[in-house]
């Protein structure tokens, strides 16, 4: 076989020609020149709400020439948690993945820092609320970008008519639409009296004491109103303290005015309670009201979302935040950060919020007065106070201020509601506290 030899001169000439051709050739950008991006969004409860995020991402993808694949992952059956765990184990998966509350901290070692994204967003949208900082930051590093989609406050949603009729409380006067709250008298004593009156009137408050999120969130806010924490921010167990005892005493009284089966309630139970017209109040974002609007309009038009009652140590409301995280092993981090910036622009946030009927709640201080909450109804203004527009209450999450990895265990194991139930069932206070102390010590493992 003959073999042609390439001389040094020929090699240099060929290389020079090819380089010149490459440099001078016109740049033809392909349809997906900037590569691929896979996104795992949370599958929204509200029908049609996913379309808003799809549209925003598709518009960005077309402009940036990125091939995007979006998966909507439901939280029913904890499918989103299973996906997070599986991708963390496999070190492979979506470039962006929606993570609820505790998961940025739980996966902190595997997440790409988002400080470069957050700096610009904070300048533009204002400071995120304290709960988001607590859940999304670790030693000054942003673990993920707060998502407006899925984030919510689980405040009281009261029946205007029943609260007036049985408890003599006009919730619209306490929380007037379009104006700051006039709710100084709305404290835990008033709340307890109202609970008793409504229970006697046959329409008890629907506050669960099961082990799911809605139940734990309410207990968390009430414990915080008493200044009660099971573990402090330094990780010290603070179960055997007076605020915890006071919170348990309060709950013992409250439980006697609640439906007898609240120990078995899950996240759907309170919604059903409100929609069926059997209760005067539940603690929930406006999803229950939205369902009532469809299935029981006569109930929906009597619903009013408002703030939590004030306790001896302040007025706290549970804020549950979703985040969008990018794995450190993601293949297209730059594209991921680019689309996250677009999704966090005020117009995009408003678009997604409107699509969710006001359910989604951005965490930024400049974005709590969107039109959607002022206009949604019936009754008009029912959601005005839902996003805490006047910073009337401190947004928090159950088990805070414990270090998030410990708090996650307290939250997941529903230690607060279990303590309340144990005490209500007749277990001695000190025995309940000793049990909770043992549990918290177990949660310290690293």
């Amino acid at each position: 076989m003959s073999r042609k030899k390439l001389s040094r001169r020929q090699f240099i000439a060929a290389t020079a020609l090819s380089s010149a051709a490459l440099v001078t050739a016109p740049y033809v950008r392909g349809a997906h020149a900037a590569g691929k991006l896979s996104i795992g969004f949370w599958d929204h409860w509200v029908p049609g709400a996913n379309k808003a995020s799809t549209d925003i991402v598709n518009a960005w993808a077309e402009k940036e020439k990125v091939e995007v694949q979006i998966d909507y992952i439901p939280s029913q059956g904890n499918k989103n948690l299973l996906t997070i765990a599986a991708e963390a184990q496999a070190k492979s998966g979506h470039d962006i993945l929606a993570m609820p509350t505790w998961w940025p901290h739980a996966q902190s070692e595997l997440l790409e820092p988002m400080n470069d994204v957050m700096e610009g967003l904070i300048k533009q949208n204002g400071e995120p609320n304290g709960t988001v900082k607590y859940l999304g930051q670790l030693k000054g590093k942003w673990l993920a970008v707060p998502a407006s989609v899925g984030s919510q406050i689980k405040g009281p949603c009261s029946r205007i008519d029943l609260m007036k009729q049985h408890a003599g409380i006009d919730v619209q006067a306490l929380y007037p639409a379009g104006a700051p709250p006039k709710a100084d008298s709305w404290n835990l004593d008033t709340f307890l009296k109202a609970a008793e009156a409504c229970q006697k009137g046959g329409v008890p408050f629907g506050i669960g004491l099961g082990e799911t999120s809605d139940n734990v969130d309410t207990a968390g806010a009430i414990f915080q109103s008493f200044g009660a924490a099971l573990v402090d921010e330094k990780g010290n167990v603070t179960v055997k303290t007076d605020p915890v005892r006071q919170a348990l005493e309060f709950y013992k009284k409250l439980i006697s005015f609640l439906p007898p089966d609240v120990g078995a309630w899950d996240d759907a139970s309170n919604n059903k309670w409100l929609v069926s017209g059997r209760g005067a109040m539940i603690m929930n974002p406006p999803s229950a009201w939205a369902v009532a609007k469809r299935d029981a309009p006569q109930v929906a038009e009597q619903c009013w979302s408002h703030g939590f009652p004030m306790g001896p140590k302040g007025r706290y409301a549970p804020y549950l935040s979703y985040f969008w995280g990018t794995w450190s092993f993601s293949k297209n981090k730059e594209a991921a950060k680019s689309v996250l910036k677009v999704l966090s622009q005020p117009d995009a946030i408003e678009k997604m919020c409107v699509a969710s009927g006001g359910y989604d709640l951005p965490c930024y201080e400049k974005l709590t007065t969107l039109k959607v909450w002022q206009e949604e109804g019936p009754p008009k203004g029912t959601l005005y106070h839902y996003p805490n527009p006047h910073n009337h209450q401190t947004l928090s999450i159950a088990a805070a201020p414990a270090p998030p990895k410990i708090a996650q265990q307290i939250y997941t194991q529903a230690t607060l509601t279990k303590m309340c139930l144990r005490y209500h069932k007749g277990e001695a206070m000190e025995k309940v506290l000793a049990w909770a102390e043992g549990e918290c010590e177990g949660f310290m493992r690293s």
Partner: protein, 311 residues
């Protein structure tokens, strides 16, 4: 030159011998059988053996999965009050459910066996329905029946002035409810296995027993039960394993509540591992089923083997 020729002859002979031994091996029945089962062996290795060893590996890591901690996770579990509650409940759940499933299956199998052959198939089909429906779906229906606020059972009981019963809110009733649903789902499996066993008992044995003057109970005790012993042992073992590892019924009906009083190994492992982001501890909880089931399997299978040898 002669050496070279000799060497090449030897090599050719060796190659021929190798070819013929490979040929012989391929013709051996055991080799063919092995090759035919190889896909299954590979499937089991991928889906069973690898995950099992991976779970073992996970159970030896610390919470953040960055450090080897040996048996510390098990040591930690042994000190937890909730863990022992889960062990106790898993045993109560599995043993009670299996006993009742076996008992009900045995009784129903007898009823079905005594139905004339013409209508028997219809009854067999109907009785298998609970076992055929995916448990996640049928348990949802049970959840509505037991619903804390809108229970259909309570609605019915109210007509007789009974209740309301907190089916899933009271610890004892909640345990009763999850066991009841498990029995409902699992009893048809026992029924069909026992029915098959009953059909294989030779009629002559009953005739001989009748001639000897054996009554109904004696016929069951001295003929039916000894003839069904192996099938009873195997179905009990199989059901014990499946019931111990149950997840869907408890997860859907009570999610382990109230106050952790219905948690079993699988549901508690899920709560800790997935919901609590502590995968190593979750893996340790789920692995704890292995020694319990292994002991049960050894005893039951040894008994079956012994009787097989005696026969």
């Amino acid at each position: 030159m002669a050496d070279v020729a000799l060497q090449s002859n030897r090599a050719a002979a060796q190659a021929a011998r190798k070819r013929s031994s490979l040929h012989k091996m391929l013709r051996r029945k055991s080799t063919v059988a092995f090759l035919m089962t190889l896909p299954l062996i590979l499937l089991i290795a991928t889906l069973v053996i690898y995950p099992a060893f991976y779970a073992l590996h996970l159970a030896t890591l610390n919470k953040s999965m960055q450090r080897f901690v040996g048996l510390s996770n098990f040591e930690f579990l042994f000190k937890r009050e909730t863990f022992w509650l889960v062990v106790k409940q898993s045993c109560i759940f599995a043993i009670t459910a299996v006993i009742f499933k076996a008992l009900l299956g045995f009784i129903i199998a007898h009823f079905v066996h005594n139905i004339p052959a013409k209508g028997q198939r219809k009854w067999r089909g109907m009785l298998l329905v609970p076992w055929v429906i995916p448990p996640a779906m049928s348990t949802l229906a049970w959840l509505w029946l037991f619903d804390p606020s809108y229970s259909a059972f309570n609605y019915t009981l109210a007509f007789f002035g009974i209740g309301p019963i907190s089916w899933t809110g009271d610890a004892n009733w909640a345990r009763f409810s999850v066991i009841l649903v498990n029995i409902w789902v699992g009893a048809p499996f026992f029924m069909i296995m026992y029915l098959a066993a009953l059909k294989s008992v030779p009629e002559q044995l009953y005739e001989a027993a009748a001639i000897d003057g054996a009554n109904w109970w004696q016929r069951i005790w001295y003929v039916t039960l000894p003839m069904m012993r192996n099938i009873i042992a195997i179905t009990t073992l199989f059901s014990l394993i499946v019931t111990f590892a149950n997840f869907d019924i408890v997860r859907i009906l009570t999610a382990g509540g109230p106050l952790d009083h219905t948690h079993i190994f699988a549901t508690w492992a899920f709560r800790i591992g997935i919901e609590g982001s502590d995968i190593p501890l979750g893996a340790s909880v789920s692995l704890f089923m292995v020694p319990i089931l292994a002991v049960a399997a050894i005893f039951i299978l040894r008994d079956v083997n012994k009787r097989g040898n005696e026969a």
